[in-house]
Every structure is written in C-alpha cells, then in structure tokens.
Amino acid sequence: MALSATPDRVLADLGATFRPQRQWVEGRGIWLIVGHFLSGVGAGTWLFALWLDWRPGLVLAIAAVALSGLAHLRFLGRGARFWKMYRARTSWIARGFVGMSIFLPAAVLALLVPPGALSGALVVLATVGAAILIVYKGNVYAASRGVPFWNSPVLPILYATYAIRGGLALLLVTLPLGGRGIDAHGVGLIELWVAVSAAVMLGFYLGVMRSTNLAARRSVAELVRGRAAPAFYLGTVAVGLLVPILIGVLGFAGPLSHAVLAVVGATSLVGDFFAKYAIAKAGIYVPLMPAGREPVAPAA
C-alpha cells in the first residue's frame, strides 16, 4: 500500500502499536524543526554577541529569530491566527511566542536607539526574551505527554544547552568573517564550546537514551537503528559532535585557522539541527493498548 496521501499515512500509523509522531517533523512539520533550530541559535547568539559586544552578531541573532518566526508561520495550519497565541497560562508554545514577541521588537529597537539608558533597558528586555526562547522549546517537547520520549525533565536542559551551543557555533562561523580572529575570546569560546558539547552528550545520554518507558525505549530504538538513525548518526553524532570535537581537541594543541573555526561552527550548527530533527523523528506515541509480545523494534 502506497503511503502517498496523508490519510493513507495516518491509517498505516494508527494501525501500528507504536505509532510514530509525524506532525512535527514531516511535511510542513519540518518548518517547526527549522523554527526551533533558528530560535535557539538566534537566542544563543544574542547572549554571546552581547558578551563579546559584537554588533554583527546581534544583527545575526535578530535575523535568526525573525526567520524562526517565519518558519513557525509556515508550519502552522492557520498561520494567520498566530496573534492568538498570547494565552501563556500553561502553554509553553505561547510562552515562546511571548518570548519572541518581546525579543524581536526590543532587540531591533535596542540596535536602533542611541546608546543610553533606553537602549540598556531594551537590551535587558531583549535578553529576557532570548532567555525565554532558550528555555521554552525543550519544555514544548517535555509537555508532550503523548510522546514519552520527549516527556522528560532533561529535555528542556538539553534544548537550552543546544541553544547555547548553537549561539556559540554561529559566532564561531561569523567572528572570523568579521575580522575578529583567534584571540582570548576565541580560545575561551572553544573551551566553552567543548564543555557545552560534553554537556549535550551527557544530556542526550541521561535524558534520552536511558528512557525506561516502553514507548520511549521504542523511540530510542528508532533513534539508534530505526527511522531517525541516519539523521542521528550522520547529523547529530558525526557531523554535529565527532567532527567538531576532533577539531576542538586539536585546538588545544595549537592555534586554529579562521576557516577551521568556521568549520567547527558550521558542523555544530548542522548537528544542532539534526539533533532536533532526530529527536522529533524518533517520537513515538504512547501505545493505547500495548501487546506484550510485540517486539520493541523499529518500524520498517
């Protein structure tokens, strides 16, 4: 049976004991992953660019967050109603929307107004928005009670860590392009980057790979040998972790060229994207009625 049209796919999935999550990764769902990726990177970049006082980085951060907003609109079934997402009472998506609604105007204005008290306040405001953006995503996943793999307190930490690493990575790509070379900051960044990457790996292990719930274990199976495995191994592990870590480790031995730093940043970014992609792709819904004899093995 061909799985071309959506209803066909839905039917095939509903028939499975372990029903895969597709809404947030396939079809238009990919835009949500893009949106999450960009907002994380953007918010992280904002923090580090502020720290480094690196104005092009701030611009980049705004651009990334703005693009994230567009990607979200592309994802939504009814994008034109986006403004209704202000009821942030319990919804982390709404909180993210609020974060973005704070960040974007505040950050833009902060760059436009002359330095002073106002701009300082705007920067603080934008930074609060960025912080929300860093925090909210993982919580969106963690609040998804239907997908046990995501429904873990470690996931918000993991996604925040990823956002911070993404911010670092974008700066690693762009700092050299703007003429700011390997200096104390650069070395510090690399050291920080390595620490964060280690945290990411630990987070992955603790938050994801050690899942005990049946459906979550099935998700892990999807990740390591199923539908999400190519994205996970190539994107998240190889390109996103091994390559930059190897290069990063080399960095302790001697100075790195601009180009190499940029490669570290770029590969990290790719890894960041595919981490989100793979985790989304591996999402499996709670089985309504698990049959004990069914093997916990990935779907074909």
Binding site: M1, P7, L11, A12, L14, G15, R293, A300
Partner: protein
C-alpha cells in the same frame, strides 16, 4: 432558499441482515443514516456497514447510463469498450434476445443474483418462473452461504438458520458460527441479544480454527482443524448417549423419529395397510402406527419382532452407530483433545437440565438452556450435511430445539398481525410424520425430499434434491457433466443482478471460462465490477437507498430476530431520488415482462409468491408497475388502509410475538429425523441414474446416520502443503460488494485482520516470516494468491484464515482495487470438490507458503 429536512424510514441493503434505517435528507442530499428504533430489526442500531451506505450511494464510480460492450473479446482484465446507449436501445435488444430464447427454450436463460440484496430475490424468482427457466442461483450463495446449514436448519427447525435462545440459554456451543458477533443474518439484533446473554452469564464455547468474532467473546475457544466438526460433534454425542446415558426421552419419542422401528434393511418397518412407519408401544406391548393418538409409551430402546422382522427403534441404531466415534478417534481428526471433548459433552448434557420446565406467559414449557449452533465454518465443506447433522444431534438428543433456552430457528411460526392474521405460517407434518416447513413468500422446503430425476437443470439439481445450488453453474467440468447427463440445452443468455461471481464463487479463472461461454450477458449493476468484463449490456441500477420494496426483510425465517420480542415488517423506499438514468431493476423486470408478453404468468406467480389476497390480487391480464404490486402486497397483508402510502410515512409495522410462535415445538405435532431413513431410497434411485450416466457414486455419503467424511483437503498427501486455508466472514464487509465503500475500506485498513492472511505466530516464526511480510499462498492445484501475513496467536497452528471476499482488480472500483486477499481464487470449482449429497462446494484448501 428554504431547506427541507426529512427523516425517511427505509431498510439497509448492505447485507442480508436488512436492518431498518432512517435516512436524514437535507434538501436532496442524504446526510446521515441511523437505525430505526421503531423496528425490531436492528432496534435502532446499526453495524459499521449500515451507517456507511452514504459512501456507496454517492460513489462517483456508479454506473449512470446503460452501457453496451463494443469489444467482442471477453476475459479477465479485458476492456469491454463500453459505449453509452439509451434505455430504449438496451431494452429493445434485451427483449429481442429474451424473446428468441423464450420461443426456443426458456431454460437457456440463466438467472444469477447476489445474496447481498435479499429483496431482489422475489422479483427475480418471479421473473424466472414466469419466463420458464429453472436455471437460477445466487452466485456464491450456495458455496459461501449455507447449503448445508440451511438444509439442516430447514429439516430440524423449519427455518433458515438457528441461534441460541439468547434470552434463556445458559450454555451455547458454536461450531464455525458467529451469530451475535458481527456479520450475517439478523446481525445487529443478534449483537444486542448476544451481549445481553453474555451479561446475563450465558456460557459460550466456540469451536473454530480462529478466535476472531464469536471466539473473541467466548468463555472458551476450542481451536479445531477445518472441516472436522462432525468428528468432534459425533464424539460428544457418543459420550452423552453412551457414557453419560443422558437423553430427553420425551422429546425424542414425540418430536423425532427416534422411536420409529427400523428393519434389517435400514428402512422403517411400515404398517401393511397405511404404509405408515411403526413404533413400539410398550404399554400395549405391540407395534402401532407412529401417529396413534393415545400411544404414550413409545419405546426408544430394545428389539422387537414386528411384521416378521427383527426391528429396533431408530434411537438404538443411533446409539450404536456413534459408539465408534470415541473422543480419542475424534482427537486424531480434529486436534481437539479427547479430554476436552468429554468435558464439553458432560457440560452440555448437564446444562441441558433434561426434564425441567419453565412457565412463560402462563404456559408450562420445556426448559433446555443449551444450544449447539453451526454455520459457515462447519458447513462450508464437502461434508456439509453430516457436519451440520452431527452438531444438530446434540440439540436433538437433549430436546433443546425450539424450546425455552435451546437452539431456535428463526421464526418458523407466525400467526400474523392481530388485525389481519397475516403473515400466517407454521410447520406441519409431512410424509412419515416428518416436518414440512411453513413459509411466507420464500418457500424453504427441504422436506419432503423429491424423487431424484435425471437432471434437466444446469445445477443438476433434480438428481440432488437436497442441494440448493450446484457448482456446475460455474464449474470447470460443467460441460463434461452436462454432456454426461445429456442436458438438452446450454445457457445462451444470462440475466445477472448485482452478483460479482468472478469473486464470489471459486477461482476466477474457472468462473471466467464459464462466463465467456455464455453468448449474451445482461447485468444490473451499481458499479462496473470484474463481472462486468464479461457483460454485454450493463443496466444502471438504483442502490438500496434509491430503491423501493415492500418486503425487504422477508422471509422472517431468513433474517428476522428470533426469540421473544416483536415482529416488524418494514419497507424500503428511496431516501433520495435515483441520479442519472438509474432505474429500479424491478421496474425494468416488470417492463421486460410486458414486452415479452408473459404478464399472465408473472401476475399469477406474484399472486402466489407474494400471497396476495382478495381484491388485492393481480388480474392476470392487467399491467401493474412494481410500485403498485408493492402497494397491493402491503394492503393484502395489513389491510386496505395500510398500503404503500401508509408504509412510506411510517416505515414499519410492528406487533408483539407470542410464546406459541417462539417456542412452537411444544405446541405443534411435528417430528424431525434423527435417522435419515429417506436417504436410503434417495441413494438407491440417485445412484441408479448417476451410474446410468457414467458418474461414479459412493454410498458412504448417503448413510442415514452421520459420520465424519474427509474433505479433499484432508486427503492431500504431499507434506509440502502443510497448512489449511479457510475463509471467514468479516464484520466490515458483505462478500465483495462493500469493498468499494471507502469508509469501510478505511476501517479495514485499520483492522489487523480484514485485508491480511492470518497465520499462527509460532508457525510463522518457524517459517521465518515477519508480521506484515508479503507471501504467496499456493494450492496443490497450483492456484496462487498473494497477500500480507498477519502473525497472530488467534489461529490454529495448522491454518491460515482469510477474511471477506476482497482482492478486486477492476480499475472501475478504485477504492476496492488491490485491497485484501481473494481467498476464493484458491478454490477448485468442480465435481470432486462438491458434496455428492447437497452439492455444497468445499471451501477449505491445503496450502503452502511460497515467498
């Protein structure tokens, strides 16, 4: 613009259960179908099919205009090259062809119809009778329906089928039946009643190769090898009669032929003068005629000297006969353990509470709260008759037939609406005191058995009076057999109503070859199907939601709820007007009658068949439209004030059932045979005719007492074929018809079984198969089907179960195309696979899995 909003009462047409419905019509669009709570048929509730009819009505693939074939070549997958023609053109051509056949030899007209739409049965039968052709069948009906189950249902229960008395039964054992668990006769009401019975605590044991449907709800599932039900049932009868010594002497003596004295030749010892069978009256100390009014001490045991011969009551012969069927013997055949057989027999005998009575409605009645029920599974075999006979004996020996708590036939007795006394029918004693079924509209009269005659019909029916349909209607060896018996004609034209015999009979190559030999085929259809590839003219039919019928659910012995409750007589009426050029097929038939000049015959048949009375009878010479015939029928039954107009408004008429109608056995002086003495004469005469025409004959099929006889699949010696394939009914589908309904298709795709090949998980693992893997099944005759296996614990390890009648290939059925598995493609349709008693086709097959 104003909106019209109506609820129109009518009748479902997606299976022969014919539940009463209400269609919600807004303006000209049908927006919903619900059950009609005013009717006992369904009681306002529908199955998944019933609520889905909208998608059948509005299928864009419906035929809207008459079509004529332009491509003379006929074959599977060959495009007929349809050309639109006008109704006049179509009817002119059909009339010309029919007239030529009518003038020449009307038997050359072959009439085929579907079992799905029951209300077409009467008009088609009436047309056949008026035209003068005996060659008519429901395609596949005789094979997948109940050639044997209906025969035994008729002989023992004066009905079409049987159910446990859901209101009072305490222990039911089902052999290959799903009554109350989905598809089939009275499906929706039975589901309610069976659920009530479960809630009440009725124990249900289901003997079946598969634990879907009934077995899924049973207290116990007893997996059995297909086609071996008789072995298990006979062993149970043996245990009950010979080990436990339990039987209902009162019932056997007065309601069966158990006391009839049997001579050394196996035949009744008859009264010299009246030729009536004799029984031994222990009080008198001598033999008397079975119908001697004051004979109360009829002997069931012993041996007597009567009319110069040693004679014994038939019951003695039965007891002795079943001694050979030990539980250990049965275990070897059926795979059901001897211990299990003994336990079930013990429980059945104990739960029967032989001798107990109950007072209902002030009347003291026998109370036997056990029932042995058989249907498609046990009957779909070459040994159909003995399988059902053997199981029925369980009911008979403990007297649990049509008494409170026992096995009930569907409504064999009806004393009619209180105001008109119609419909009125009841069984009556026939030759030798054995029961003749009483019927309304559709006679089901297996007894008395006709003398076998050299066959003059395509089905060879005359030689096999116990059969309904024969495989020779579409078998690979039909020409050989027809030649053998000197059939003096060949089918020259087929009039088909809605049957897709390519899918519903057996392997499609065989059926295709038989259809290709018929020079001209006209088919009433709502969509083009695989069958249409062989049709010359297709007429666009109305679907059930656009149709009119005054008796959509009669006869009551077929699909009206059994047990206490209400009688309901609903009508079917258009819920929306027919679209396009679709015409009600019955209107077209009436028009053909008129064009052919057989109006007198048709009206005479209608009067008789529909039991029209008084001023509502059709005058032989007058032309009536179908609507008028329906109107007269309703007025004839329910009074002049309750014609079609009344029924169109009210939809249904209901009245309460009486205890005498439901538990009629105690009230009527009819007997049923536990010993089929009539088979001896039938065998002798049929054998003589068969041998004279060069047909081999085996007496073993005509023993007056049942035995287990192997199916062809039990005799396959090649060990490579290590699985038994069987077919079962899916609740989501009716034969092949509903596969095109996309709502049902959607549900089927979600169902783990609907479209798959169910294979025991352990068996699958030893074969290295994965769940969902695509495999090919191959029969010893090289027939192959392909499908996905569903590995399951719910199937006997030796078996593969395939649901429904799917596997369409016609491009004109885009929803159905390529879905599911066509089990029938594995079946042989020939003499060797048919029963030599009732022509039932064998529907189990040995298989092997080829990757």
């Amino acid at each position: 613009m104003t909106t019209t909003d109506q609820w129109i009462p009518s009748t479902c047409g997606l299976c022969y259960g014919t539940c009463s419905i209400r269609g919600h019509r807004v303006d000209d669009v049908l927006v919903k179908i619900e059950g009609n709570p005013e009717s006992a048929i369904g009681r306002g509730r529908l199955c998944g099919k019933g609520v889905s009819g909208i998608m059948t009505l509005y299928d864009p693939n419906r035929v809207n205009v008459p079509l004529r074939r332009t491509n003379p070549v006929k074959g599977k997958g060959v495009d007929p090259g349809w050309q639109e023609i006008s109704w006049d053109e179509a009817l002119d051509e059909i009339t010309a062809r029919l007239r030529k056949i009518h003038d020449d030899d009307p038997r050359k007209l072959f009439i085929q119809r579907t079992t799905t739409n029951t209300s077409i049965r009467a008009p088609m039968m009436m047309f056949a009778a008026a035209f003068g052709t005996p060659n008519s069948w429901a395609a596949g009906g005789g094979l997948h329906c109940g050639n044997g189950a209906h025969l035994i249902g008729g002989i023992y229960h004066a009905s079409w089928s049987l159910v446990p008395d859901f209101q009072h039964c305490r222990f039911a054992i089902y052999f290959g039946a799903s009554k109350g668990h989905g598809a089939g006769h009275v499906s929706c009401t039975n589901m309610q009643d069976a659920a009530d019975a479960r809630a009440r605590g009725m124990r249900l044991v289901v003997v079946d190769p598969m634990a879907n449907f009934a077995a899924a709800k049973a207290n116990e599932w007893v997996p059995i090898r297909p086609g071996t039900d008789a072995a298990m049932a006979l062993a149970m009868v043996n245990v009950i009669l010979n080990d436990l010594g339990v039987w209902d002497a009162e019932y056997l003596a007065h309601k069966t032929n158990a006391p009839y004295l049997i001579g050394p030749d196996g035949c009744y010892v008859r009264d010299a003068e009246t030729r009536k069978p004799l029984v031994w009256d222990a009080a008198r100390g001598h033999a008397v005629r079975y119908d001697t009014p004051d004979a109360a001490a009829l002997a069931l045991e012993g041996e007597y000297e009567v009319a110069g011969v040693r004679a014994r009551p038939a019951f003695v012969l039965l007891r002795e006969h079943v001694r050979q069927f030990t539980p250990e013997w049965a275990e070897g055949i059926s795979t059901v353990s001897a211990a299990m057989i003994r336990r079930l027999a013990r429980e059945f005998a104990a739960e029967a509470m032989v001798g107990s009575t109950i007072v209902l409605d002030g009347k003291r009645l026998p109370y036997r709260p056990v029932a042995a029920i058989y249907f498609r599974g046990s009957q779909g075999h070459k040994n159909s008759v003995y399988n059902c006979f053997a199981i029925e004996l369980l009911n008979e020996i403990v007297g649990a037939a049509d008494v409170v708590g026992g096995a009930l036939g569907f409504n064999p007795v009806c004393y009619g609406h209180p105001e008109t006394g119609k419909p009125w029918y009841e069984p009556k004693p026939g030759p030798d005191g054995l029961m003749i079924t009483g019927t309304w509209v559709a006679p089901h009269l297996p007894y008395p058995i006709a003398d076998p005659k050299p066959p003059t019909t395509m089905s060879l029916g005359g030689l096999f009076p116990l059969g309904m349909f024969g495989p020779t209607m579409a078998s690979s060896d039909q020409e050989e057999l027809w030649t053998k018996f000197g059939l003096p004609y060949r089918p020259e034209m087929m009039l088909n109503y809605g049957a897709n015999s390519l899918l519903s009979v057996g392997n499609s190559d065989t059926v295709a070859a038989t259809l290709a030999r018929i020079p001209f085929i006209v088919s009433f259809d709502i969509t083009l199907t695989e069958f249409s590839e062989f049709a010359d003219i297709v007429l666009p039919d109305t679907c059930y939601l656009e149709s009119l019928d005054s008796r959509p659910n009669v006869p009551f012995i077929f699909n009206h709820p059994a047990g206490l409750g209400e009688w309901s007589w609903p009508i079917r009426q258009p819920v929306v007007p027919p679209a396009g050029q679709r015409r009600l097929a019955t209107d077209v038939l009436v028009e053909l009658v008129d064009r052919l000049g057989i109006r007198e015959e048709f009206n005479a048949v209608a009067n008789t068949h529909l039991k029209l009375d008084g001023s509502h009878r059709l005058e032989f010479g007058t032309r009536y439209g179908y609507e008028e015939i329906c109107d007269r029928e309703l007025k004839s039954h329910f009074g002049a004030a309750r014609g079609l107009a009344w029924f169109k408004e009210h939809g249904v008429i209901s009245w309460p059932k009486r205890v005498e109608e439901v538990y009629w056995r105690a009230f009527l002086g009819v007997r049923v045979p536990i010993y089929w003495e009539f088979l001896i004469g039938l065998n002798r005469n049929a054998k003589r005719i068969a041998n004279a025409h060069g047909l081999d004959w085996d007496d073993v099929w005509y023993d007056p007492l049942p035995r287990w006889l192997p199916c062809p699949s039990h005799e396959v010696r090649d060990g490579a074929f290590d699985l038994w394939g069987f077919y079962y009914r899916d609740t989501l589908h009716t034969n092949s018809f509903t596969n095109e309904n996309p709502w049902l298709d959607e549900a089927s795709r979600l169902d783990p079984f609907s479209y798959t090949i169910a294979l025991n998980a352990a068996t699958g693992r030893t074969k290295g198969l994965r769940d969902g893997q695509e495999v090919t099944l191959e029969s010893p005759h090289g027939r192959r089907v392909r499908g996905r296996v569903h590995l399951t614990e719910t199937v006997h390890p030796e078996c593969v179960g395939i649901g429904g009648c799917a596997g369409h290939w016609a491009k004109t059925l885009p929803i159905a195309q390529g879905k599911g598995v066509m089990f029938n493609d594995l079946l042989e349709v020939d003499w060797a696979h048919g029963s030599p008693v009732n022509l039932n086709l064998d529907t189990c097959v040995k298989l092997r899995i080829v990757p």
